[in-house]
């Protein structure tokens, strides 16, 4: 073997990682720290201050240690029923949107595919709001059967239908026409927006908070009854998409090349679409449409680790969780005691980023 610039990736029995892989591992660890920090701060900070000691005391009772007597009943209630579910929901939603964005971008072989941008979130939101408004009448027997899973299941179906339509419209001859994909997303978002508007109009106050919840998103609906069923769907989606890292890598070479490498391309695409819709639908069902997380996060991860999905997928999950958690902190604290819609914060971060991406791609390759 020649000594050369390849020294870093020359195998030896003790060290089998390349430079990029070492960086990838560091990025994963950093993002994990950020996500944990986001969850913790979310529990401690707010109108009612909670100290780390008080939180630890309450948290220890969950695993049967201590009785939490030293913490006031009010604080215990705030931690257990308000802040903890909200933190958990933020982490799950962020992770789901991050992974889903990364997977969609691999699936479409284009870095501009984002579940929000191409209408997958809106499709889920439309289905969710339809279920809430029509739940008492038209869909009552089905919902009675599905119980707490009814809402995320219908949202999943709405998202899945949107993925299928966008894919049908934007793929010609095995290649994604990017402009068509983005325009199809505009159309899908418009259809969903009008549907959401219509159902909001039909709804009474008991059924819905307001239109902004669905179009701009919020973690305000975090109660255990809704977080747990949707969270189960999101966990399945995140874990399932992680297993597609290698096939998605090969898919980036083009479908024909992936096929000759022994990848079952059709099965990979079906799994990716199904799992993405499952997670995004469930996320949307509990916190509305949160845009740009799925666009910004995988890009940031890719900038550091390169496009290898073995790092992009878990990295996007962790960084996505961190981004949503910190955005939610800004949403809660910036105009306290009122609350900004979460989507306002993520859009304020994501929209300029999107412009920058478009400009950069224009310089590099056109939008081909």
């Amino acid at each position: 073997m020649e000594a050369s610039s390849l020294a870093t990736s020359t195998p030896s029995s003790s060290d089998l990682s390349t430079n990029r892989e070492r960086i990838g591992v560091l990025v994963l660890m950093g993002a994990a720290v950020l996500a944990v920090l986001g969850m913790a701060i979310g529990v401690l900070v707010g109108p009612l201050k909670i100290t780390l000691g008080e939180f630890m005391s309450v948290a220890l009772t969950w695993i049967g240690i201590g009785d939490g007597e030293d913490v006031s009943r009010v604080k215990t209630g705030v931690i257990e029923n308000i802040r903890a579910p909200r933190s958990l929901l933020g982490a799950l939603v962020g992770a789901t949107l991050g992974v889903a964005g990364a997977a969609m971008q691999g699936f479409f072989r284009n870095p501009l595919a984002d579940p929000g941008l191409i209408g997958v979130s809106s499709g889920g939101a439309l289905a969710a709001i339809a279920v809430i408004v029509l739940g008492g009448t038209l869909l009552a027997p089905i919902l009675a059967f599905l119980g707490a899973f009814g809402l995320p299941i219908f949202a999943f179906l709405g998202s899945l239908a949107t993925v299928a339509i966008i894919y049908r419209v934007s793929v010609f001859d095995g290649r994604v026409v990017v402009a068509t994909m983005l325009l199809a997303g505009v159309a899908a978002n418009a259809v969903a927006a009008s549907g959401i508007g219509y159902f909001t109009f039909l709804a009474d106050d008991a059924q819905l908070r307001d239109l902004t919840f669905w179009t701009l998103g919020s973690l305000g609906g975090a109660v255990w009854d809704r977080v747990l069923p949707a969270g189960l769907f999101m966990l399945i989606s995140i874990a399932g998409l992680m297993t597609l890292a290698r096939p998605l890598n090969c898919l980036l070479l083009g479908e024909a090349d992936a096929e000759t490498l022994g990848i079952n391309v059709e099965a990979t695409k079906r799994k990716a679409a199904f799992l993405t819709a499952l997670g995004v639908g469930a996320a949307t069902a509990v916190c509305g449409v949160i845009n740009f997380v799925g666009l910004v996060v995988p890009h940031l991860v890719r900038l550091i680790t390169g496009p290898d999905h073995r790092f992009v997928l878990p990295g996007s999950a962790l960084l996505g969780a961190a981004l949503v958690l910190f955005s939610d902190l800004i949403a809660r604290l910036s105009v306290a005691p009122a609350e900004l819609p979460l989507g306002v914060v993520t859009a304020a971060i994501g929209a300029p980023f999107f412009f920058w991406l478009l400009l950069r791609d224009k310089q590099v390759s056109g939008l081909g």
Binding site: M1, E2, S4, S5, L6, T8, S9, T10, P11, S13, L16, T18, N19, R20, R109, N110, P111, R175, R246, N249, C250, L252, L253, G254, E255, A256, D257, E259, T260, L261, G262, I263, N264, R302, G306, P307, D308, S365
Partner: protein, 250 residues
Amino acid sequence: MVARLENASVIRGGRAILADATGDCRPACFTAFCGPNGAGKTTALSVLTGSLKPDRGHAELEGRDIRSIDRGVLARQRAVVSQASALTFPFQSYEVVSMGRAPHLGLTTRQVDLEIVNEALRLMDVTHLAERNYLTLSGGERKRVDIARALAQVWDVPDDGGTRWLFLDEPTAALDLKYQISLMRQLRELKAQGWGIIAVLHDLHLVKEYADDVWLFKNGAVEAIGAAQTLLTPQRIQTVFELDAPYALT
């Protein structure tokens, strides 16, 4: 134990872009597919690699219908270098070649895979490009990385001691003279080790010098199959390529 087309036809838009093609590609042999543009060379190659299901007839690899072979097993037996890679994400060349090891993961140790990737890079003289972004490489450099990926894919001798097959669609198109010649020599070397090499080639001089067998295509049909040294007569070249006068290879 050959790669065989048997009465393979591919119909597109009511027209046969491959018509009733029959023939054998031998192991330890360099077979060139030649003919004018649109004559069906790439289509025949796609059917032969199992990528394309013919509308009539079939392709066999070592006695089995290629469409019936498990995709993972097939991927360890034959590799394909397509005309151009569709990659648009900024992988390093090293990572691209590593993807060639995808069909072996879990069957080999990590160390073996890394060594093979490094060997493949060295063989195609792209070791110095290993950590470069594939998208910033020139066409010829990309092609050499693509070929290195294909070599890494079928590097190991199959369990049953069968042949390793390498299919290349116009591999020399983007290469400068130096690398055209060096690729031809490498293919000849692989052939000597028992590999079956099948390549679509336009440069008949290269074909005559390096290939063993030639398939001549015209209008979707296999016009003639024979030894490169004897088949490419001035008159036959004139007929197949519809030239004004006989064309003699030097």
